[in-house]
C-alpha cells in the first residue's frame, strides 16, 4: 500500500478538479452554442424543424446521462473508432447540456407576453427581426438566472463520467479511497471540492434572480 498524506490526497483531488472544471467549461460553452441552434429549431413554426428538436430534447431529458455516455462510447466502438473517455465525456455532456439549455431558453422565450409578439407583427417586422430586436433581448434577461443555475447541474453531471473512466474529481477520489482505505475522508474531501466549485455558481444564480425580480417589480 502506498502511503498518502492528507496533502497528497488534496493535491491529487486538485488535479481532478482541474479536469472537472475544464470539462464543465467545454460542455457549457459548446452545449450553449448547440443549445441555441436547438432552441431556434424548437420554436420554429415549421414542424419539420420543431418536431425533431422536441424529440432531441426529450431524449436527453428522459434518459440517464450514464446511458448517453455508454451509447456514445460503444457507438463509436461499433464504427470501429476508439474513443477516449475524455472525448466521450465531452461529447456526452455537450449534447446533454444543449438539450437542457434549449428547453430552459424556450421557457424564457415563450414567457414573453403575447402583446410583444403582436406589437412586432403590427409593425410589419419579419419573424427574424421580431426575434432579434424584441423577443431575444427580453428573454436574455430572464434566461440568465436559470442558465447560471444549470451550470451547477453540468458540473455535477461530470461526476458520472468517472464511471467511463474519466479522471475527474470522483474517479480520482475512488482510486485514492481504494489505495488508502480512508473512504470517509476521501469522499468527504471530494464533496468539498465540488462544493467549492458549485456553491458560488448557486449563489450567483440566486443573486441574479433576486436582482431580476427587483427590476421587474420596479
Amino acid at each position: 500500500m502506498i502511503s498518502f498524506s492528507l496533502w497528497d490526497i488534496v493535491r491529487h483531488l486538485c488535479v481532478g478538479a482541474a479536469w472537472t472544471a475544464g470539462l464543465s467549461l467545454v460542455a457549457f460553452a459548446l452545449g450553449g452554442a448547440a443549445g441555441l441552434g436547438v432552441l431556434f429549431a424548437r420554436i420554429s413554426p415549421r414542424r419539420r424543424l420543431s418536431a425533431p428538436a422536441k424529440a432531441y430534447i426529450e431524449f436527453f431529458q428522459d434518459t440517464p446521462l450514464l446511458m448517453q455516455l455508454f451509447l456514445i462510447f460503444f457507438g463509436f466502438g461499433l464504427l470501429g473508432l476508439d474513443i477516449s473517455p475524455l472525448l466521450t465525456a465531452a461529447i456526452g455532456l455537450t449534447l446533454f447540456t444543449s438539450a437542457y439549455l434549449a428547453e430552459i431558453w424556450r421557457g424564457c422565450v415563450e414567457a414573453i407576453p403575447k402583446g410583444q409578439w403582436e406589437a412586432s407583427d403590427c409593425l410589419a417586422m419579419s419573424s427574424l427581426q421580431r426575434m432579434r430586436f424584441v423577443i431575444l433581448p427580453q428573454a436574455l434577461r430572464t434566461a440568465i438566472p436559470p442558465t447560471v443555475g444549470f451550470s451547477v447541474q453540468v458540473v455535477k453531471g461530470t461526476a458520472v463520467t468517472s464511471i467511463i473512466g474519466f479522471m475527474e474529481i470522483t474517479k480520482t477520489g475512488s482510486m485514492i479511497a481504494n489505495a488508502t482505505f480512508k473512504p470517509l475522508l476521501v469522499y468527504a474531501l471530494a464533496a468539498v471540492f465540488y462544493f467549492i466549485i458549485c456553491f458560488p455558481l448557486s449563489a450567483l444564480a440566486r443573486r441574479v434572480e433576486r436582482r431580476l425580480h427587483a427590476a421587474c417589480a420596479r
Binding site: L78, A159, A177, L184, Y187, A188, C198
Partner: protein, 222 residues
C-alpha cells in the same frame, strides 16, 4: 462493416432486464415518498423559520444541491461503514435518493408555500385555526398543486440519476444491463435497449405522477 445489430441478447435476458427495471421503480417509489415527505417538513421548517430544523435544513439543502449524487452515494456506501453504519447496495441507494430528493423538494415545496396568497392564511386565522391546521388544510394542497409539475420533474431526474447506483451493486436496471453485457459482449444493443427502457419508465412515471396529482392533490376525478 461486419457488425450486425442483434436482439438475441435482449430476448434471452429479458427476465434480468425486467427485474432491473422493477428495482429501479421500487427505489424510485421509496425514494420519492421519503424524499417528498422530508421536503414537506423542510419547507415548513424553512418557511416558518422553526428553530433547529430551519438552520439544519438550510445546511443540508446547500450540501446536497452543490455536490453530485454519485459522491453522496459513495460517501454513504463506502464512507459510512468506517462509522459503523454498514448498508447494502440498495439500502445505500435508497438513502441517497431520498436525501437527494429531500433537499430539492424542500426548495420546490417552499416556493409553493410562499406562493399561497396571504389572504388565504388570514381568512383561516380569522376562523381561529391554529398554525398546523392552517398548514394542513389551507396551505399544503394549493402549495403542492402549484409545484407538482416541478416536483414530478425532480422525481424523474432522481430516477434517471439512480442508474449510477449500479456502482454500489444495487441491482437496478443499469446493473442488469452491465451484467448482461459482461455475459454477451453485445454492449451497444444492451445499452441501447436499456436506454429505451429508461425512456419508457420516465414516460410511464410522468403519466402516473400527473394522474396522481390530479386525483390526490387536486382532489378531482374529472
Amino acid at each position: 462493416m461486419s457488425y450486425a445489430f442483434s436482439i438475441e441478447p435482449i430476448l434471452d435476458n429479458w427476465e434480468i432486464f425486467a427485474q432491473g427495471a422493477a428495482m429501479t421503480l421500487l427505489l424510485t417509489a421509496l425514494g420519492a415518498v421519503t424524499g417528498v415527505a422530508a421536503g414537506i417538513l423542510g419547507a415548513v421548517s424553512r418557511a416558518w423559520r422553526l428553530p433547529v430544523l430551519s438552520p439544519f435544513y438550510a445546511v443540508y439543502v446547500e450540501c446536497v444541491r452543490n455536490t453530485p449524487f454519485l459522491v453522496q452515494l459513495y460517501f454513504i456506501f463506502f464512507g459510512l461503514p468506517s462509522l459503523g453504519v454498514k448498508l447494502s447496495g440498495w439500502e445505500a441507494s435508497f438513502l441517497a435518493m431520498a436525501l437527494n430528493l429531500g433537499a430539492y423538494s424542500t426548495e420546490i415545496i417552499r416556493a409553493g408555500v410562499m406562493a399561497v396568497p396571504r389572504g388565504q392564511i388570514e381568512a383561516a386565522e380569522s376562523l381561529a385555526m391554529d398554525r398546523w391546521q392552517i398548514f394542513r388544510f389551507v396551505i399544503l394542497r394549493p402549495a403542492l398543486k402549484t409545484v407538482w409539475p416541478a416536483l414530478c420533474s425532480q422525481i424523474i431526474i432522481v430516477m434517471l440519476g439512480s442508474s449510477v447506483c449500479s456502482q454500489v451493486a444495487a441491482q437496478e436496471l443499469t446493473y442488469a444491463a452491465n451484467l448482461i453485457q459482461s455475459r454477451t459482449f453485445r454492449a451497444f444493443e444492451i445499452y441501447f435497449f436499456s436506454t429505451l427502457l429508461y425512456l419508457g419508465l420516465a414516460i410511464l412515471v410522468r403519466r402516473f405522477l400527473k394522474a396522481f396529482g390530479r386525483r390526490i392533490i387536486d382532489g378531482r376525478t374529472a
